[in-house]
């Protein structure tokens, strides 16, 4: 079974530029998560999708961050414009409702973003 795929693995941009990250979850997983992991901290949930609908985006900075999950499979997370404090690793995870609670999450390798 293929794992969660993310690209790119690394990205360096200047502040005020825009950037996009891509995630392909495990086949058949209905739930997809985006996390932000700042150096020295645990992952913080940004947004949770159930199929192509948003379940929770309460911690997503909506003035600059956006995310979509078209057709309930792949997802993209965008930052526009980027700030220095957005430097972090962006992790994507997916889980299956079929397996029942507690919906164990499987993580991708992450995208390391550096904003200069």
């Amino acid at each position: 079974e293929a794992g969660v795929a993310q690209s790119p693995r690394y990205k360096i941009i200047e502040k005020r530029q825009s950037v996009a990250f891509w995630c392909n979850p495990i086949s058949g997983h209905a739930t997809l998560y985006w996390y932000q992991q700042i150096l020295g901290q645990g992952p913080k949930l940004l947004i949770q999708f159930q199929n192509n609908g948003v379940v929770d985006d309460s911690q997503l900075p909506k003035d600059r961050f956006s995310a979509e999950r078209l057709k309930g499979v792949d997802s993209t997370l965008k930052i526009q414009p980027a700030k220095l404090e957005d430097s972090a690793v962006y992790l994507c995870a997916s889980s299956s409702l079929i397996q029942g609670p507690p919906y164990e999450q499987y993580f991708g390798p992450g995208t390391r973003l550096t904003v200069t």
């Binding site: 969660v4 739930t31 998560y33 020295g40 901290q41 645990g42 992952p43 913080k44 949930l45 949770q48 379940v55 929770d56 992790l91 995870a93 889980s95 609670p101 507690p102 919906y103 164990e104 999450q105 499987y106 993580f107 991708g108 390798p109 992450g110 390391r112």
Partner: protein, 114 residues
């Protein structure tokens, strides 16, 4: 609301020595508990989980954890560490009413030296 506290930010340990990583949580409802490991430049990998039943849970790579409801703790242990156990370890909680929303601790960096 739920929260997770990992009591040690860094734990240095010699190879073949035991290690314990401490995790405390708070929640007004029942919880599921997890430990994840993150190797450098990689995503998170599940070590073990507590859902119900026996409070002593065994995971991969020789790790185990004990759920203590009265002390709201879920400490991770390994009796003898290897150099390859050098990594960051995260405790995570899902409350039974949060429908899959993890709350992660800040992490504990384990550094194993010869």
């Amino acid at each position: 609301a739920q929260s997770v506290t990992q009591l040690d930010s860094q734990v240095p340990v010699f190879e073949e020595a035991p290690v314990e990583l401490r995790c405390n949580y708070s929640s007004s409802v029942s919880v599921y508990l997890f430990w994840y490991v993150q190797y450098p430049n990689q995503g998170l990998q599940l070590l073990l989980k507590y859902l119900s039943g026996s409070t002593l849970v065994k995971g991969i790579n020789g790790f185990e954890a004990e759920f203590n409801k009265s002390q709201t703790s879920f400490h991770l242990r390994k009796p003898s560490v290897h150099i390859s156990d050098t990594a960051e370890y995260f405790c995570a909680v899902i409350s039974t009413d949060s429908w899959g929303k993890f709350q992660f601790g800040a992490g504990t960096q384990v550094v194993v030296t010869p």
